[in-house]
Symmetry: C2
Subunit: 346 residues, 2 copies
């Protein structure tokens, strides 16, 4: 039975959920269904140390220490790495999971971590949108040269298989346009404004209280997170590199409770709609903006933290992929799915 | 550039749309994007003869002759085959597309055609539900032994990638349950009863007029077509062979215009809901029955000939794949997607 050595760079909520999924919840199933075994040979945290052990780290102990805020260096069989790049350079691994904090401006240092991992012959997997919008073509080319994979299913719509839908399930199809709801914080806010009659500020406070919105929610409210996701989808679905700055962007800040209620009175809803379409000259027009949608649209029923993407192709009717009420582990599942895509045959 | 020889067994609407897609609409794209070429070495019609030519048939001529109701034997470079099995035995092909009429009771003769094709070393591709519910495990095992593929994307939801979603895009996930709208004729009938105030009989007549319902619509109305699709999805998604007769089945015949209007008055809709769930003991409970659904359900907005399947897995929130307003060529696209899945690397 093949044993895959994996390295976890980033050990926050997502990295820990992945460790649990790989080594505790799904371990028996990976053996039985895919005839493979996983061992974690490196863990790097942001502020609580790093650990390497080519023979395999004790992941249960690492999870307990991380939960207790202890330094993981104590687990290392070698002198602990000094930073992320040193970690990738030294770890004995077949797969790197890159889950450091997102840098929307440059995609760094995640891009450098992923590049080095591929150069060292590892599969490079991330939940990070930055490398997709800033280095997709470079990293895919490098991966192909190395006979490895660069995968990022969890970068958009948590772990729902939006990239795999296009890359594995729609061969020979061309995406001409898409529309979707890709930012769950603003969708939750708009839902609360409709269903609970809250103001924007009250709905933001609610989203913060339940841990969906960040302390500074402006990246969601002003449509920036959505624009990055649009850029990632355009880059992959349409093969056209697009920067988030090239997405025409309007957020939901100017939407009032009265606007939301006026739409509802007419059987419609305001949604922060992400969209892109290929123009006849091959260029792409991409937007994020609040739009009123009616019940005939697949976007209409998508409430709370649910999300959807609707593809317009040259071969099928409108095809939608929708995820309702994502589980906390959805992102970790997307990383696991990328891992299996990379290592299983055919 | 590799050249794939394909055989078309069945040359009705679907077979002809496939020929146009493969050899006219998508030919340049297959060359450019997948570096492959397709040549048709055999065409078998039900009542207008069969033709073989190992060097390749003139597909344009075949399409014109078929449209004019002429016998295709005139195109054959060899004595024409005498029946479907003789066709599969003699055709020089790498891929068989099996599109003969469906036999719901036994899956024959399609199963025998597909089996022989696999034994002869061809990939076996069909839009036919019969072989999926009656011989999935046998044909998949045989395909694996032969290093070939048995694929059938178009058997459910036209060419929308419902099987590929599960098989290629959700590795490591377990399907615990699903719900969906899989019969477009009954969904169109229920839509007309709501939106046009028609009786069941009037709506059936409308569906017949526009070519959606058959002259004898009972297979749709009584839920039999839906039950076969449920059996196919259970067989593939849950790995449990299930016959259509094992699906608890109620059709829409008893639904009156008053029922539909009463639901609408309460903001709900009647839908012919297909569902299955895995019980704790590993067996599967499967049903087709009219149910009232509210706007919170992803099924609610699916109108006319659109369709949806909603998966409940162990790793994600509820995941739905929905196709709106399928194009006439969707089934042919599903066959093309199966072909590319079979022949392209990785």
């Amino acid at each position: 039975m093949p044993v895959y050595r994996v390295a976890l760079l980033g050990f926050g909520n997502v990295g820990r959920a992945l460790a649990q999924l790989l080594l505790l919840r799904k371990q028996d199933e990976l053996r039985a269904r895919y005839d493979l075994e996983v061992v974690v040979t490196g863990i790097a945290t942001g502020r609580h140390g790093m650990a390497l052990n080519p023979a395999g780290l004790d992941v249960r102990a690492a999870l307990e220490m991380a939960a207790a805020g202890q330094d993981l260096s104590a687990l290392s069989a070698e002198p602990p790495p000094t930073d992320g790049l040193d970690f990738v350079r030294r770890v004995a691994a077949d797969v790197l999971f890159e889950n450091t904090p997102v840098n929307y401006e440059t995609g760094e240092p995640a891009i450098s971590h992923l590049r080095l991992a591929l150069e060292r012959g590892m599969h490079a997997i991330t939940a990070n949108k930055g490398p997709v919008v800033h280095a997709f073509h470079e990293l895919r080319r490098l991966a192909a040269c190395q006979g490895r994979k660069f995968l990022f299913e969890s970068a958009v719509m948590d772990g729902a298989p939006v990239f795999r839908l296009y890359e594995a399930a729609l061969p020979g199809a061309q995406v001409r346009a898409f529309r979707g709801i890709l930012n769950s914080t603003t969708n939750l806010i708009l839902t609360r404004m409709e269903t609970h009659g809250e103001t924007l500020e009250q709905a933001v406070a609610y989203a913060q209280r339940i841990g969906i919105a960040e302390t500074d929610p402006s990246g969601d409210i002003n449509g920036w997170d959505a624009a990055i996701k649009v850029a990632a989808l355009v880059t992959v679905f349409m093969g056209v590199p697009l920067k988030p700055q090239q997405v025409q962007r309007r957020g939901i800040r100017h939407l009032s409770r009265a606007d939301v209620q006026a739409a509802a009175a007419q059987g419609q809803r305001w949604k922060l709609v992400c969209s892109a379409r290929r123009r006849d000259d091959g260029t792409v027009e991409a937007r994020v903006e609040p739009q009123r949608v009616g019940p005939e649209s697949p976007l209409y029923g998508v409430m709370g933290t649910s999300s959807i993407v609707q593809l317009d192709t040259d071969v099928l009717g409108q095809l939608s992929l929708r995820e309702d009420d994502p589980t906390p582990d959805a992102t970790a599942y997307g990383l696991l799915a990328d891992f299996l895509t990379a290592v299983r045959p055919g």
